[in-house]
């Protein structure tokens, strides 16, 4: 009798364990490229056909070009990016210890330009900033997203999460409604992805050019008819932090290709 109860107990425990594993597998993030068509996957995988690589190529030129008052290039301090910046992009956005400012990759590049190169700040979506950001992020391609949430970042993560789950805009939708509750389902002829930021900057067919994560987030705000936060704003940076934390388990794909 006790053997039968024990056996039943083991079976129940095994079922619970399997269910837990199944749930964990369900929660593992999937990159946007996994929701994309075969043509888009082929375009991203082919480094020559991938239009984003044009920006990476330009970024490499800018990396080595003299800039600012003292004509100092990025390479002048950092050397070869393949060595010095490998893995760097996986840890963004982050708080800059020296200044206390919260920076994404674009912010870090601009901080270097203004404070170390005495060169002008580059605007979001400018050819130069897109190229440099793509080039730097590309050095981490294939590496796992590894953003570190310091204690000082906890508040930002909470704010980012709050934005993600808040209903907004005329359509009164939150990010989660599409990108968690309906990921994998169709919206008109398109398949909804989980909305991760691991491939940015991307080449977006709809834009016919490369663009930043902030551009894409603002496009989503427009999609639900909400007021768009400015490029580089705290709202978008906090959301970026939450997205980076959510994307753990994915690897950097920059430059991604998306619809």
């Amino acid at each position: 009798m006790s053997v039968r109860i024990a056996a039943a107990l083991v079976q129940v425990m095994a079922f619970c364990a399997l269910s837990t594993f199944a749930n964990a597998a369900d929660k593992a993030p999937r990159s946007g490229i996994e929701y994309a068509s075969a043509e888009l996957r082929a375009m991203q995988a082919d480094d020559f056909a991938n239009p984003g690589m044009l920006w990476v190529a330009r970024g490499e030129k800018l990396w080595n070009a003299p800039a600012g008052r003292d004509r100092r290039s990025c390479a002048g301090c950092h050397g070869a990016a393949e060595k010095s910046l490998r893995g760097a992009a996986t840890r963004y956005p982050q708080t800059d210890r020296a200044s206390g400012r919260f920076l994404n990759l674009e912010g870090r590049i601009n901080q270097c330009r203004s404070e170390r190169q005495d060169a002008g700040v580059l605007s979001y979506e400018s050819e130069e900033l897109l190229a440099l950001t793509a080039y730097v992020a590309h050095q981490s391609r294939g590496l796992p997203v590894a953003v570190v949430i310091e204690d000082s970042d906890r508040e930002r993560l909470t704010r980012g999460r709050e934005i993600y789950y808040r209903r907004q805009g005329q359509m009164n939708l939150a990010c989660t409604h599409c990108h968690e509750q309906n990921a994998g389902k169709r919206l008109l002829a398109e398949t909804i992805s989980e909305g991760h930021g691991n491939a940015y900057p991307i080449y977006r067919l709809e834009w016919q050019t490369a663009g930043s994560l902030h551009r894409r987030l603002r496009a989503c705000y427009f999609g639900i008819r909400a007021e768009r936060p400015p490029f580089g704003s705290d709202d978008l940076l906090n959301l970026e932090l939450f997205l980076a934390d959510r994307a753990k388990g994915l690897t950097v794909e920059t430059p991604g290709v998306r619809r």
């Binding site: 020559f48 056909a49 690589m53 044009l54 190529a57 330009r58 016919q208």
Partner: protein, 107 residues
């Protein structure tokens, strides 16, 4: 203009090789409007040629029906080592050029 050319690392004489070219260019259709509501003027790469050891092997006349950042792939028969020279011009008269060296070994 940023442009990239892809050729095989090496090939044998007589082999049909694949040539690829991609150019960063908006191929502006002339039908888009800017945020102020003004038409953005048409500007596409209209003429493109490829010469291999001075001989034209490929020519393209393109319009707004070709996507932005034009991508082209075609073939040619490898003969002798030499330069492939791409030249193009857009509606504004801005010229671009890209060249790549093809290494051809004896058959």
């Amino acid at each position: 203009m940023v442009a990239r050319v892809q050729l095989p690392a090496s090939c044998r004489a007589g082999e049909i090789i694949t040539v690829r070219l991609v150019i960063q260019h908006p191929m502006e259709t002339g039908f888009r409007y800017d945020v102020r509501g003004n038409r953005v003027e048409k500007n596409v790469i209209s003429q493109l040629t490829c010469r291999y050891n001075e001989v034209e092997i490929f020519r393209a006349e393109m319009g707004s029906g070709i996507a932005a950042n034009p991508f082209l792939q075609f073939h040619t028969i490898a003969r002798q080592s030499g330069d492939l020279v791409f030249e193009w011009v857009d509606d504004r008269g801005v010229r671009g050029e890209e060249r790549a060296r093809l290494l051809v070994t004896e058959a």
